[in-house]
């Protein structure tokens, strides 16, 4: 057990190191120069630009050779310093990310968990009712193939613009400031419904299809046949099938929870929802290396964290893994 976990931790640390290195490298391979970008936004005059450029270049450490920049990045990271944003200068990346993070998490975690629970339930239900299966399966296929972007726009158009039921932009009304009052929470929830629904429904189809297929496979497995041969009622056969079918689904959940912080990137863009996804989209367009790094760092942490959690959880929920990994 100890050996297994320490081996896992080592592998995850190694993966983390490789991931943050790629994080650093990828933005710098984009064409263009972020400082020039910034200057063109700051001033429309052509004067003194060379001096301003040199100053800013030095300020962001981009005058150094590439490898020194990398070492500096690693050094700063160990001190928790993610640098300063270029496009939102002089805000720090840490401040930007930590302000956006709660919006993303409160949007995507409920959407993913609820769609997981409801989808699995509906999938299991469909697997045993032929009629239901035939009618809802095509619907699920459409849902899972739907781009978040398209469903978001559809919901915004129908429930937002046409029926005027929900606001279509932001996480709260423009006239408000975030506070811990009931009226703010209600306003926040009102804004939350449409982005939540667009993620929830797209994910729902995938979970339901997955569960349905898994259950049908398990119901046809030898152990299910044997139970029926021994006269066990369908209830027990189904219970056993569900028990085994949910295991691969849990792996899928880990993957989904991993990308939770940027999972809703297009949804956040459509609804102007101030989460990590929106920040990331803006940072990429503005070539803001440091914000891109910060946002991706969150992704890396979430993916690795969720997978590590599931790796450990599997020891407890699947005896086959326990047996083959640890041998006790």
């Amino acid at each position: 057990m100890k050996k297994y976990i320490s081996r896992k931790i080592f592998m995850y640390l190694l993966t983390f190191f490789v991931a943050i290195s790629i994080n650093w490298l990828i933005p710098r391979m984009m064409p263009g120069d972020p400082i020039l970008n910034l200057i063109s936004k700051l001033s429309r005059q052509a004067t003194n630009n060379a001096r301003l450029y040199a100053e800013l270049n030095q300020k962001f450490g981009m005058d150094k050779p590439l490898f020194s920049q990398y070492l500096l990045y690693l050094k700063n990271l160990t001190q928790g310093d993610l640098g300063q944003s270029i496009i939102f200068y002089p805000k720090t990346v840490a401040a930007i990310v930590s302000k956006a993070l709660p919006y993303s998490l409160t949007l995507t975690i409920p959407a993913i968990l609820l769609s997981f629970l409801v989808g699995n339930y509906l999938g299991a239900l469909a697997a045993r009712k032929k009629m239901l299966d035939n009618t809802v399966l095509p619907f699920w296929y459409v849902l899972t193939a739907t781009p978040y972007l398209w469903l978001s726009m559809l919901l915004a158009w129908l429930l937002g613009s046409k029926l005027n039921l929900f606001p279509i932009s932001g996480a709260y009304s423009f006239s408000r400031l975030p506070s811990a009052t009931l009226s703010f929470v209600l306003d926040y929830l009102h804004h939350w419904v449409l982005p939540f629904a667009s993620i929830f429904f797209v994910q729902l189809g995938g979970w339901a299809i997955g569960m349905r297929n898994l259950i049908i496979y398990e119901l046809d497995a030898d152990y299910s046949k044997y139970l029926r041969a021994l006269g066990a009622p369908d209830k027990l056969v189904r219970r056993y099938a569900y028990r085994n079918a949910r295991l691969p689904q849990i792996t899928g959940l880990a993957v989904q929870l991993g990308v939770v912080v940027v999972g809703a990137i297009t949804t956040e863009v459509v609804f102007g929802y101030p989460g990590i996804g929106l920040i990331l989209a803006q940072a990429i367009l503005g070539q803001d290396y440091f914000v891109v790094q910060g946002a991706f760092l969150m992704v890396v942490l979430c993916v690795l964290g969720a997978n590590f959690f599931i790796d450990i959880a599997y020891i407890f929920i699947d005896p086959r893994v326990r047996h083959s990994m640890i041998g006790d």
Partner: protein, 317 residues
């Protein structure tokens, strides 16, 4: 007679029509008897075991009846059959090595199974432990997962579970085919021991492995293309077979101490008929060296000895 099968027909419904996998088969098994059922792949022997325990689509009951301890089994009513399954007739399936749920401990499995059948587990817990000991499984196996056991152990666990309620009829479906020779011997000896200890009354032992039958069967039934070819006491079937197919089958058995080069195994020319649309009359006629015009009619049962029946037109059997 504890088991009487009369004119039993199990067909598989397909788009092209009914595949007559088991077509008008009659036999009986006496109390305390092990009936070996042998034949080549596709002769209907597994269909017989599966159909007796659970008729489910695409398989359907096309006729006939089965009496177990004097009671007609409601084969066409799967829900009513549930009361008989496990309690009165039980099966050791072909897939015994995968028959247990991999994520449920063996003790828990039996507990769930008993509860679902409305049987008090605490009343059967001690019997279960005794039976596990009877098949020489180590103590504490109830607390282990199936994946932690070897193939032979899994097989024995399934044998114990299947026979836990002392069924009258135990169906063994190719239970030795996935095992190595030494485990085969243990398993077939256990089936005989279950019978000797009166844990089960009668056994139907389906296999394609005739030498295994020779060791444990009291009587042997030879099937061909969904019908009975011959049935009789083991010694007579092995050493004095009457039906041309049985003779060919016995002659085709590999011998010890003879290599393929020294002596080519006898084989039967041709192949079994398609059961979607089987030929009229004797189903072996196309491959039979003794074919006569009357073979186009279905041969009737002929008694050629004590309990020895042959379905063949040949005069000098």
């Amino acid at each position: 007679m504890s088991v009487e099968v009369e004119n039993l027909k199990f067909y598989y419904r397909t788009r092209k029509g009914s595949v007559k996998a088991l077509d008008d088969v009659s036999f009986s098994i006496a109390d305390g008897e092990i009936l070996g059922i042998a034949g080549e792949s596709g002769c209907g022997k597994s269909t017989l075991s599966n159909g007796l325990i659970h008729v489910c689509p695409p398989m359907e009951l096309a006729g006939g009846s089965v009496r177990l301890d004097g009671k007609n089994l409601p084969l066409d009513k799967p829900d009513e059959m549930n009361t008989y399954r496990f309690r009165n007739l039980s099966i050791i399936p072909q897939y015994a090595l995968n028959a247990m749920n991999p994520t449920v401990k063996i003790g828990r499995y039996v507990q769930d199974l008993m509860q679902s059948r409305g049987i008090d587990y605490s009343a059967i817990e001690k019997l279960f432990a005794d039976r596990l000991r009877f098949v020489r499984l180590p103590e504490g196996i109830q607390k282990r997962y199936p994946i932690e056991l070897s193939g032979g152990m899994k097989q024995r666990v399934v044998m114990v579970i299947s026979t836990l309620l002392n069924p009258s009829l135990l169906l063994c479906d190719e239970i030795t085919s996935a095992l190595d020779v030494s485990t085969q011997k243990v398993v077939s000896a256990l089936v005989a021991a279950f019978r000797d200890e009166k844990i089960v009354k009668s056994v139907s032992f389906v296999t394609h492995d005739v030498p295994v039958l020779y060791q444990i069967a009291d009587r042997i039934l030879i099937m061909y293309a969904g019908q009975v070819a011959e049935a009789g006491p083991t010694e007579e079937i092995i050493h004095a077979a009457k039906h041309p197919y049985t003779q060919a089958l016995v002659a085709a058995m590999p011998e010890m101490a003879s290599t393929y080069r020294q002596k080519k195994h006898a084989s039967i020319p041709g192949k079994p008929p398609a059961l979607l649309d089987p030929p009229e009359g004797c189903r072996f006629k196309e491959r039979c060296p003794y074919r006569m015009p009357c073979c186009d009619e279905r041969p009737q049962k002929r008694l050629v000895g004590n309990g020895h029946e042959v379905y063949c037109w040949k005069e000098d059997l």
